[in-house]
Amino acid sequence: MVTIQLLPYSEISSLSSIGRIRKILNIAKQNKIVLLQGRLQKEEETELIKATMEEINKEFRGIELAVINPMQGGGLFDGVASFVLGNRAGLTVVGPASVVKKIKKDPHKIELLTNEGKKRRK
């Protein structure tokens, strides 16, 4: 069974960068897929990868990460919308590697391939 946890941006907006990363990572470590409304800042994405590496152990093998930003078109409307919405625009998917095998992504679509039924070595 795959569990998806929706995370509205309002739940992380008041947190520090470290707080945001910890919140997302803690959910992923519970073997849940995080669907974050909005996106992290670029530096936070890198810090998320770094924090993930620090947490890797026998049970937790890392994450799969994908960000869709519909405001990336570069047009005037996209620019204004991006300015108004800020980091609330877009969608971020973070799945634990034990559950998510791969995330295929193009700028406007995400395909999530899961590891269902895969037996893990102890």
């Binding site: 990868i49 770094k50 993930t52 590496m53 093998r61 890392g62 590697a97 992504k105």
Partner: protein, 209 residues
């Protein structure tokens, strides 16, 4: 301010920057060390690191100081070459078992690989210019590629996207170009040396920024 002053005094007579740190970044197995070896072989007649079909062969930062390359019109460019471990979001020792490694070696490699990724990310503060090396046979939209490029952009670090392995039939240059239209992209084969002249010319252009 310090970085600005450092940059100001690091340009030579022709306006080409000298003695800067050129970082090779990218996902595992994209050919960063093969490219580093190609550069070192072409200009210093020596290798920098070992390469392997097993991911995460490079698990520590490797540096070659004072690499000097020359352009067709005689200009020189001097830099310290920094080869970094591949950046990944997941490292599973079981993946290494598929390559015939023992469980002990696979676990050791996984442990070292996680440290390597952390080191590579820390080194983003140290490099002045970056080549993001992608495997042109793979999907360019991977989040690791996008995250690295976004991060470099946020730090205002000059960057060129190197689409490697163009000697392979499965390589799709157009797909890489479509994925990152806002970047300078040069297609090469670090293994065969194909298009390396274009790559070196691109470094000269990059060094002027």
């Amino acid at each position: 301010m310090l970085k600005w002053l450092k940059n100001l005094f690091s340009f030579n007579f022709w306006g080409v920057r000298k003695n800067f740190k050129l970082g090779l970044y990218g996902p595992p197995n994209s050919g960063k060390t093969t490219l580093a070896n190609r550069i070192c072989k072409d200009w210093l007649d020596q290798d920098l690191g070992t390469v392997s079909p097993i991911p995460h062969e490079t698990r520590e930062i490797q540096q070659k100081e004072s690499v000097v390359i020359k352009s067709k019109d005689g200009k020189e460019l001097q830099f310290n070459l920094v080869d970094t471990p591949g950046i990944a979001t997941r490292i599973d020792y079981e993946d290494f078992l598929k390559h015939g490694m023992t469980e002990k070696s696979a676990k050791k490699r996984a442990r070292e690989a996680t440290k390597g990724v952390i080191e590579a990310i820390k080194w983003l503060d140290e490099v002045d210019t970056v080549c993001v090396v992608l495997d042109a046979t793979q999907d360019p939209f991977s989040q690791v590629n996008v995250t690295i490029l976004g991060n470099l952009q946020a730090r205002d670090i000059p960057v060129v996207v190197v689409a490697n392995k163009i000697d392979l039939r499965r390589a799709k240059m157009k797909r890489v170009e479509a994925a990152f239209p806002q970047y300078d992209i040069v297609g090469i084969s670090a293994r065969t040396g194909k298009n390396m002249d274009d790559f070196y010319e691109t470094l000269f252009k990059l060094a002027k920024r």
